[in-house]
């Protein structure tokens, strides 16, 4: 459970930072009058939707941190036999990176009001994300063809489970992206479009980060990395 | 008024119940009086806190209940009082924790002269395995469990051959000798619990857990399963008999070893010791009996 604990420490860090700006040491019974005009004590200047997404991503991060924790706990048992990662995953990673970059371009374009660029970026992002999902499915097919079935061994089960969960989150993101793209074609409210493109980009970058972490985990680098850290500490 | 009175009565009633009611722990039959003592300390500290808080409440309700023209005092906080209360609480909590941790370190450190006894749980019966002359238990694996080898002892391990198997029958232990109970399950979680010994531990399929104790009283004690293990869970009783050294050796001498129990297949009728052929039949009996009982209950 060490991974999830570390993750929660990071969350606690954010929470502590935020709390430290809320005047927790103040004596509210002495402060009558309109105190809310102290900027820091009021709500954040960020759009509410972004904060909502941020909280949601914390939950998603928690989910994957827990999967990782479970993975490490099971991996510690001596009969662990990791499965060989298909090469295809490298290609998929590249595609997902492209997808993120495309969305980043769309964001920049949206800020500048270049609607054509926004459309291009969104379409590219959507298509590459789809390609990523198809690539993942092909990787699964390859593995089953090579005899690495879901049930044959816990390492296999974890592989399918974690990649599957990540894929489902991408799929969910595609729904949001689809709506944003539709909005980009209608182009009714540019303000709104900008926000939703930014939200999509945020989500995409986060899932890319999760994927990189998951990839490192499944490839066994994460474990090696932790071992090295442990050796450095002792 | 009435409210304050009821609050006082709750404290008085609870204390009286604690002191006078006939419901209390069973007389201890192991070395874990330390645990009982820790519980007593805990009862004292928590009892005092409970009484203090509720009586204080009762007093407040009585003294500061609303009357015409009353007005509450204005006191947002009192740093000193709060600090003091925090410190006192911390001291109380430490007074609970420290003895507890000392006893726990005893509980988890098994003395080197403890003899090993293996307990195997399965739905819904207890079996036991004691080391033979070599003083060592052979290795085991759930994958090796068959009707002829219900405990899954690995036949190729020489250490296992002279192990004494007590399949679905009573376990005997000598009084005054520390034992390390090695706990194993071949299906679901169980928990080996003898209230008089105070100690217990879950049994997990796929791993071996343990606890240790020294029986201090001879007698017959009931084993209860303390981890939900399916429909037969409440009926999964067993028996531990704590014997004097002499009685124990006599009992031990009558038991079958793994080699003897697996022998009949090879030597067949040549082996005519009474009760030998009984053992495997007895093995499945209680578990099945419970299953059968559940069946009839279910069909009602």
């Amino acid at each position: 459970m060490s991974v999830i604990i570390v993750f929660l420490f990071v969350i606690a860090g954010f929470a502590g930072w935020w709390l430290s700006h809320q005047g927790l040491m103040s004596k509210p019974w002495l402060e009558q009058g309109l105190a809310g005009d102290f900027v820091a004590l009021d709500r954040s200047a960020l759009p509410t939707a972004k904060i909502g997404l941020g909280v949601f991503l914390a939950v998603v991060g928690c989910l994957f941190a827990l999967f990782t924790s479970a993975y490490f706990m099971r991996m510690a048992v001596s009969d662990w036999q990791p499965l060989p990662l298909p090469r295809l995953l490298w290609l998929n990673t590249g595609v997902l990176v492209l997808s993120s970059i495309a969305l980043q371009c769309a964001t920049v374009a949206a800020r500048r009001g270049q609607i054509d660029m926004v459309r291009l970026g969104l379409a590219t992002a959507g298509l590459t994300a789809l390609a990523f999902l198809i690539g993942q499915l092909m990787a699964w097919r390859q593995l089953t063809a090579d005899g690495y079935f879901l049930t044959s061994n816990p390492a296999n089960s974890f592989f399918y489970l974690i990649t599957g969960m990540h894929g489902l989150h991408i799929l969910g993101g595609l729904v949001g992206l689809g709506r944003t793209t539709a909005g980009a074609w209608n182009a009714a409210r540019p303000e709104r479009l900008r926000l939703s493109v930014e939200l999509c980009a945020m989500y995409w970058h986060f899932l890319l980060f999760v994927w990189l972490a998951v990839f490192a985990l499944l490839a066994g680098w994460a474990a090696t990395f932790i071992d090295i850290c442990r050796q450095l500490l002792t | 008024m009435a409210v304050a009175l009821v609050l006082v009565l709750i404290v008085v009633g609870s204390v009286l119940f604690h002191l006078l009611s006939p419901w209390w722990w069973t007389p201890i039959a192991s070395n874990w009086v330390y645990i009982d003592n820790t519980i007593i300390i805990t009862f004292w500290i928590t009892g005092v806190v409970f009484a203090a808080v509720v009586l204080f409440m009762a007093y407040c309700v009585f003294r500061f209940r609303h009357r015409e023209g009353n007005r509450a005092a204005y006191e947002p906080e009192n740093k000193r009082l709060e600090s003091w209360l925090t410190i006192v609480t911390a001291v109380g909590v430490t007074a609970l924790l420290v003895p507890g941790l000392f006893v726990w370190s005893r509980f988890v450190n098994v003395p080197s002269d403890a003899t090993e006894v293996e307990v195997v749980g399965q739905q819904w019966q207890w079996s036991f395995r004691l080391p033979g002359k070599d003083g060592k238990l052979g290795t085991s694996d759930t994958r090796d469990v068959t009707t002829d080898n219900p405990l899954g002892v690995i036949a190729s391990d020489p250490n296992g051959q002279d192990d004494v198997l007590v399949e679905a029958a009573d376990l005997h232990l000598p009084v005054g000798k520390p034992v390390k109970m090695l706990l194993r399950s071949i299906d679901v979680l169980h928990d080996f619990y003898v209230p008089e010994f105070r100690a217990k531990m879950d049994m997990i399929p796929g791993s071996v857990t343990y606890f240790w104790f020294t029986p201090t009283k001879t007698g017959t004690f009931q084993v209860l399963c303390a981890e939900l293990c399916g429909q037969g869970h409440p009926l999964m009783h067993g028996v531990v008999v704590v014997d004097t050294q002499q009685d124990y050796l006599a009992w031990f001498g009558q038991q079958q070893t793994f080699a003897q129990l697996s022998a009949p297949q090879q030597t067949g009728a040549a082996d005519n010791a009474p009760g030998k052929t009984m053992a495997p039949a007895k093995t499945i009996a209680p578990g099945l009996k419970i299953a059968a009982k559940l069946e009839t209950v279910g069909s009602r």
């Binding site: 909502g52 | 009611s21 500061f64 928990d191 939900l228």
Partner: protein, 589 residues
């Protein structure tokens, strides 16, 4: 002393960004409503309905325990199905849903001075997914093989094996699916509660001016958002084990002489995941209760809550600490024994902030002007049961004491006292307190007092003696208490007594339900602020609050939530949105 004199012509507070949804038809007003108040009532009604099922199940279990062998239809199989459904419903579908979905939805927007939750559409979806989860859960009663009987902890391997009711039938599948739905639905709601507190606060409503109710619900929601994923992970993995035959939690098993296909899984892994959720869950239920009870005590004792800052710190501290104590549920699970030292220490450390909260509640009573209204009575009863249950927690948290007591009736008594009875008493107190705001009428006083005394004393009589059964060594989750040497004759009598009390307490809840329904039409008219309370929900222009809560302009907040009996002020309460300075060291306004 910080003094901000209100300038002239302060513009009304408005949250521009959140677009208030306006219903267009009867359907969108009352059924698919996006108004948090309607959603709150939907959540509460559904939770109460399913809670009644759990109550009836508890009667059936008590029949079996109190009068063993008398009721043939309660087979061990049925008994285990009853405890599982009872436990799961009470903890998750009743208490979590009621505190966060019910009270959270109703109170957060009103108390922080918002027109609604920040994402009303998502909020609506949250309720409908919750309802679906409840329906899936209920459907398991009618599925072949009945609901699962694995215990609310659902420990594998037992949970998905044939020796357990529903293990190889639909029961466990429906249970896991329902939990997964619940978590998805909850996450949607939870995002709303958290972000509304962060972003929806009206002008002047700093975090330190929030009523403790909001602090409690807010912290509990944050915890729930971080803890429920652990249950989600455990459920998904177990579902795969059961449906697709993976072996996350399933080691090699020989079941009744037959080798199962599974191999290599770890049952302990499930326990870690489950309790990583399960322990915070206790506080997810407790923290809202802490917050609400603070407000009840303060309002009805006409005194500010003692040590507000400490209370806030304690809530946050308890919330954070409760993520590092989960393995105290696993002292005898066979995990590495050295964990015991760590987890016993963290567990007992939590006792300190918890104790501080208790002190501050009783110190609020000190030199108060205590009105023994029904909410106040429930708050007092909460303190008694919570202190009792909290103190027995010190037994179970202290690792070595837990060894003889774990998995006995002592544990059942402990957790019922601390997370069953205590929070439920707060729920009742809160309902008596806010019912006038929700309906505009008071609940009947006489029925209320009857309900209070029977519930409080009855519940205490049920669960206090039960500890001693556990001390004797009577294990929990025993469908039959026969043939046991520890069960003396008198212990059987005690059990019968407990069962009879359970029926009496249950009956009192029917009286309460009647009161709830009857008073909607026949209760005394309440007016807008019957308790003369300071917080914003009592200052709405209409009662019950209309769509948008606050009329044309949002209120502006000038003070904290606890200005009761301020020296120099004429009334013994000053609403949060009242301008002007009062206080010991300033001129009376």
């Amino acid at each position: 002393m910080v003094d901000i004199t209100p300038a002239d012509g302060i513009p009304p507070a408005e949250v521009a960004e959140v677009e208030l949804y306006h219903p267009h038809s009867w359907w969108t007003r009352y059924v698919f409503s996006q108004d948090a108040k309607v959603i709150a009532i939907q959540y509460s009604a559904t939770a109460t309905g399913i809670g009644l099922v759990a109550l009836v199940l508890s009667w059936l279990m008590r029949l079996q325990l109190g009068f063993p062998g008398t009721f043939d239809f309660i087979t061990p199989e049925a008994y285990y199905q009853f405890i599982t459904m009872h436990g799961m419903i009470m903890v998750i579908y009743l208490l979590t849903a009621l505190f966060l979905g019910g009270f959270g939805n109703y109170l957060i927007p009103l108390m922080v001075g918002a027109r609604d939750m920040v994402f009303p559409y998502v909020n609506m979806l949250s309720y409908w997914i919750y309802l679906l989860a409840v329906l899936v859960l209920v459907s398991s009663f009618f599925a072949p093989g009945g609901p699962t009987g694995a215990g609310w902890t659902l420990y594998p391997p037992q949970a998905i094996m044939s020796g357990t009711p529903g293990g190889q039938d639909w029961g466990i599948i429906l249970m896991l699916s329902s939990l997964i739905l619940f978590i998805i639905g909850f996450t949607m709601g939870g995002l709303n509660y958290v972000v509304t507190v962060l972003q929806g606060r009206t002008r002047g409503m700093t975090m330190m001016r929030l009523p403790l109710t909001v602090w409690g619900i807010f912290t509990a929601t944050v915890m729930a958002l971080l803890a429920f994923p652990a249950l989600f992970v455990a459920c998904v993995m177990m579902l795969l084990d059961r449906v697709l035959g993976t072996s996350f939690f399933m080691p090699a098993i020989s079941e009744m002489g037959e080798q199962l296909q599974h191999n290599g899984g770890s049952p302990i892994l499930f326990q870690h995941l489950f309790w990583f959720f399960g322990h915070p869950e206790v506080y997810i239920v407790a923290l809202p209760a802490f917050g609400i009870v603070s407000d009840l005590i303060s309002t009805h004792a006409r005194k500010n809550i003692f040590g507000y800052r400490m209370m806030v710190w304690a809530i946050v501290g308890i919330g954070a600490l409760s993520f590092v104590v989960w393995a105290h549920h696993m002292y005898v699970s066979g995990m590495h024994p050295y964990f015991g030292f760590f987890f016993a220490t963290t567990t007992l450390i939590i006792a300190i902030p918890t104790a501080i909260k208790v002190y501050n509640w009783v110190l609020t009573l000190w030199r108060g002007d205590i009105h023994l209204t029904i909410p106040m009575l429930f708050a007092l009863a909460f303190i008694v049961t919570f202190v009792n249950g909290g103190l027995t927690g010190l037994f179970l948290g202290n690792v070595v004491v837990d060894v003889p007591l774990s998995d006995t009736m002592f544990v059942v008594a402990h957790f019922h006292m601390v997370m069953g009875v205590a929070p439920i008493l707060v729920v009742f107190g809160a309902i008596y307190h806010w019912y006038p705001k929700v309906t505009g009428r008071m609940l009947n006083e006489m029925l209320g007092r009857f309900h209070f005394w029977v519930t409080f004393l009855g519940a205490y009589l049920i669960f206090f003696p039960m500890h001693y059964l556990g001390l004797m060594g009577v294990p929990r989750r025993y469908a039959e208490l026969t043939d046991m040497t520890v069960m003396t004759e008198s212990a059987h009598h005690l059990n019968s007594f407990i069962s009879i009390m359970a029926f009496i307490v249950g009956f009192a809840q029917m009286v309460f339900l009647f009161n709830l329904i009857w008073s909607i039409r026949h209760g005394r008219e309440a007016g807008g602020n019957p308790w003369r309370a300071t917080t914003l929900e009592w200052q709405t222009p209409q009662t019950p609050p209309a769509h948008g809560n606050f009329g044309k302009d949002l209120p502006i907040v000038y003070r904290w939530a606890y200005d009761y009996s301020v020296p120099g002020a004429k009334e013994d309460f000053i609403p949060q949105n009242m301008p002007g300075s009062f206080g010991p060291s300033r001129e009376p306004a």
